[in-house]
């Protein structure tokens, strides 16, 4: 019996690293699979809708990022390809065009969208086609549907998960913190969203909420998008948070709480075990021979 339990324990002990290892192996496989599916459908257009449309338009003005109309004529194809493949690398290399663009667009860097070389080719050829006048006027989702009245209170409930998202995406607080949260604030995986609204502006915020295509977020929300109503409520909440402007200091709060908690525990222990045994020998030895209970001294 004991032997069986110990075997189970050994399995349990190994199951966690095995699980992590499995995840590590599975993730690239899943992304490769997704990429090949995107490629097999209609080349660049679908890609653009999926990856770029939240921040960029073609011919409908700037959003978070610049309007991409004429980009294929303004930039060299080679430069575009490098930029799309790994924007971070070029930012780090301080490419002069990139530096200029960053200054113009509020220092919001373009995230690495994880594109493969063939996807990049597809995207560029799609944009070239647009620039050559074969334009298809499209309206983005956010602008198409009539919106119900914004409600920042409902937005807050959605943010904190009190009201779950309809398509069962995880609530924002799981990864983000924001002003006005009580207790330990929100998660720290994503950035603090207090200033998100003022940073991205209304149109930017709306488009981000519509697509949620950041590399970390898209695996979660691609299949569980927010409904238009949820988007507008969240936007209203983000806007009100930006006005309130109390940047959260989660870490500082946590440290203070921890220190206070530890101090309180120490006080409790000190009281609870005040009669504990302290050292016996050293105290009376350090008193020395003069202060003993007896009066008689050797050598008298």
């Amino acid at each position: 019996m004991q032997k069986r339990i110990s075997i189970i324990l050994v399995y349990l002990r190994w199951s966690i690293p095995l699980f992590v290892l499995g995840l590590l192996l599975a993730l690239p496989t899943v992304s490769l699979l997704a990429a090949s599916i995107a490629q097999s459908t209609d080349e660049g257009k679908a890609l653009f809708q999926e990856k770029c449309a939240s921040c960029h338009t073609i011919g409908q003005g700037d959003r978070l990022g610049p309007d991409l109309k004429g980009v294929t004529t303004n930039r060299e194809r080679d430069w575009l390809a490098r930029w799309l493949l790994d924007p971070k690398k070029m930012i780090n290399e301080k490419d002069p065009i990139v530096v200029e663009l960053l200054r113009k667009y509020n220092n919001i860097p373009m995230p690495n969208m994880g594109l493969t070389e063939s996807q990049v080719t597809d995207l560029i050829s799609y944009m070239e086609a647009q620039d050559k006048g074969i334009s298809v006027i499209e309206k983005t989702q956010t602008q198409s549907s009539p919106l119900p009245e914004d409600d920042s209170a409902t937005g807050k409930s959605l943010f904190t998960g009190v009201i779950p998202f309809q398509n069962s995406g995880s609530p924002c607080i799981a990864c983000h913190s924001i002003a006005g949260m009580t207790g330990l604030g929100g998660g720290t995986l994503g950035p603090d969203l207090t200033n998100a609204y003022s940073k991205y502006g209304e149109a930017g915020t709306a488009s981000i909420l519509a697509s949620l295509s950041f590399p970390t977020m898209s695996p979660i929300y691609a299949k569980r998008p927010l409904t238009p109503e949820e988007q507008s409520n969240l936007k209203a909440f983000l806007q009100s948070a930006a006005i309130a402007k109390q940047p959260t200091q989660t870490l500082a709060k946590l440290v203070i709480l921890a220190v206070l908690g530890a101090a309180l525990l120490l006080v409790i222990f000190q009281v609870l075990w005040r009669r504990r045994l302290k050292e016996v020998r050293r105290p009376f030895v350090s008193q020395g021979p003069e202060s003993g209970k007896t009066t008689g001294r050797p050598g008298q």
Partner: protein, 502 residues
């Protein structure tokens, strides 16, 4: 009546010379492993002194043993609820400083030191930090009254002594001390067993030896506090507690325990006592002034036909009864009543008994001469027969051996004095017949008894000192376990080492 046999011990303190051979024998056999550096299952203490660990007798500090709360017996350490609350932190553990920081010496320096003007020395090295250390304490730090102005005067047994008596104990030229060797008492009502939350400590039914299972021990360390004699030690390397096992592997093969066997002064006696297990609770919860008497009452007469019959019905074999009848311990404790337990007021009913040492009488040095008080008028008599002029007050001995009952200690001394006076009269012939008779009367004894005491005290054979019956472990084991189930499975040492190691 639930009659059982207990391997019990008598230490005759008059014969102890304080050589520590017992401690070394024990150390070499049992506690020279990693993690047992500070353990002394057997140690020898100088009295007056504070012992090892320092002031172990002060239960206000260490919370060992039992006390009476509204007439009910309870562990001084804690009840069940407090035991649960304190399970992850026992607040009454002695610190390393109350034992000592174990050390060794840089012996290699003696051989490897480069040539120089000075002799190389071996510096003491702490076995905890590995760095040179100033030794502050050791297992017998106050041996032979070393540091007595500090240690001896803090002896907890001095309470109730007058200032004059304390002064006498400490005065130069008149210093007095004696030795108390200590091992586990293998008590009838052990505090360590009661305190253990894991049920790892048990008293063997067939011989009463208290053992600590190295497999069941979970390192809660409540036993260390629970034992008022501080005879359970925690092994930091195995994460288990350890204690004196009365060399049971030796006993089972018919040998005396190592410390008994090597004893230079031959102070140690070992034999069986029959006791009534049903009377343990009653004895342990007796009022303070009756606890010694009650403990003695649990010990039964092995010659009583009723006891023999009930004992046999309870599974005691003929050889065990016979060994109990020959037991030197029975003679010292019950027949002659000259051996007393150490601190019976701890209520654990210790089964190690001490014959208290004869005490020197008060003397003073005048003009370079050593004057015994009263010697002018009564010749040598005060030297060998005076209890009133004894330099160590009876009160002090009563605090150690009789829960403060001075009458009990006095009765023991009267008999010991009678033995001395009788033999002086017989051999040296400088004590008058009248004085001898007076001593016998005061000692409540007869010449026959005195001769028997003298025989077993001064001239016992090996077989008389150690009466070890065949313990028949093979049969005792069969009552609880199937020996064939363990074939090829048991060896020496710890069978399953602790998973946690430092």
């Amino acid at each position: 009546m639930d009659i059982r046999a207990q391997v019990s011990m008598v230490f005759h303190l008059d014969k102890c010379i304080g050589c520590h051979t017992c401690s070394i024998a024990c150390k070499n056999i049992w506690t020279d492993r990693r993690g047992t550096e500070y353990m002394w299952w057997n140690n020898v203490e100088t009295k007056p002194g504070t012992g090892y660990p320092t002031l172990w007798e002060d239960q206000d500090k260490y919370k060992g043993g039992w006390d009476l709360s509204k007439g009910k017996l309870r562990l001084r350490l804690q009840g069940k609820l407090a035991g649960l609350a304190n399970i992850f932190f026992n607040p009454y553990l002695p610190t390393m400083q109350d034992y000592y920081e174990p050390w060794t010496y840089q012996y290699e320096e003696l051989f490897n030191a480069p040539e120089g003007d000075d002799q190389p020395v071996a510096r003491p090295i702490s076995m905890v930090t590995g760095k040179p250390t100033d030794i502050e304490a050791g297992p017998n730090w106050d041996d032979d009254l070393g540091g007595s102005p500090v240690y001896a005067r803090n002896d907890p047994n001095l309470h109730g002594l007058t200032q004059e008596e304390r002064r006498q104990l400490n005065e130069l030229e008149r210093l007095v001390f004696f030795y108390v060797p200590r091992i586990c008492n293998h008590c009838l009502n052990p505090g360590c067993v009661a305190a253990c939350p894991a049920g790892a400590i048990y008293k063997r039914g067939e011989d009463g030896i208290v053992l600590l299972s190295q497999e069941k021990c979970r390192a809660w360390r409540m036993c260390i506090s629970g034992c008022p004699y501080k005879k359970v030690y925690f092994n930091w390397a195995t994460g288990k507690s350890e204690k004196c096992i009365l060399c049971y592997p030796r006993l089972e093969s018919g040998h005396a325990p190592a410390c008994f066997h090597v004893c230079v002064g031959r102070i140690r006696y070992l034999g069986l006592l029959l006791y009534d297990a049903d009377r343990i609770k009653e004895a342990a919860s007796a009022p303070d002034d009756k606890v010694l008497e009650a403990q003695m009452a649990t010990i039964l007469d092995p010659f009583d036909s009723g006891v023999i019959a009930l004992g046999k019905a309870n599974g005691l074999s003929d050889v065990v009864i016979e060994a109990a009848q020959k037991s030197p311990v029975y003679k010292f404790v019950k027949k002659w009543k000259i051996a007393l337990p150490l601190h019976p007021e701890f209520r654990t009913l210790p089964m190690l008994f001490y014959v208290p040492p004869m005490l020197p009488v008060i003397a003073t040095v005048r003009n370079g001469r050593y004057d015994i008080e009263g010697a002018e008028s009564r010749g040598l008599a005060p030297l060998i027969s005076s209890l009133e002029k004894s330099r160590v007050p009876i009160r002090y001995m009563a605090n150690i051996f009789a829960a403060g009952d001075e009458k009990a200690v006095e009765a023991v001394y009267r008999k010991l004095i009678a033995v001395r006076v009788y033999n002086r009269a017989q051999r040296v012939r400088d004590v008058s017949e009248v004085e001898m008779k007076e001593a016998l009367e005061q000692g409540n004894t007869t010449p026959e008894e005195v001769q028997a005491i003298f025989q077993l005290t001064s001239k016992p054979s090996f077989e008389e000192r150690f009466v070890i019956p065949p313990l028949a472990r093979e049969m005792a084991i069969e009552t609880t376990e199937d020996p064939f189930g363990h074939k090829l499975a048991t060896g020496f040492g710890i069978r399953k080492p602790a998973r946690r190691r430092w």
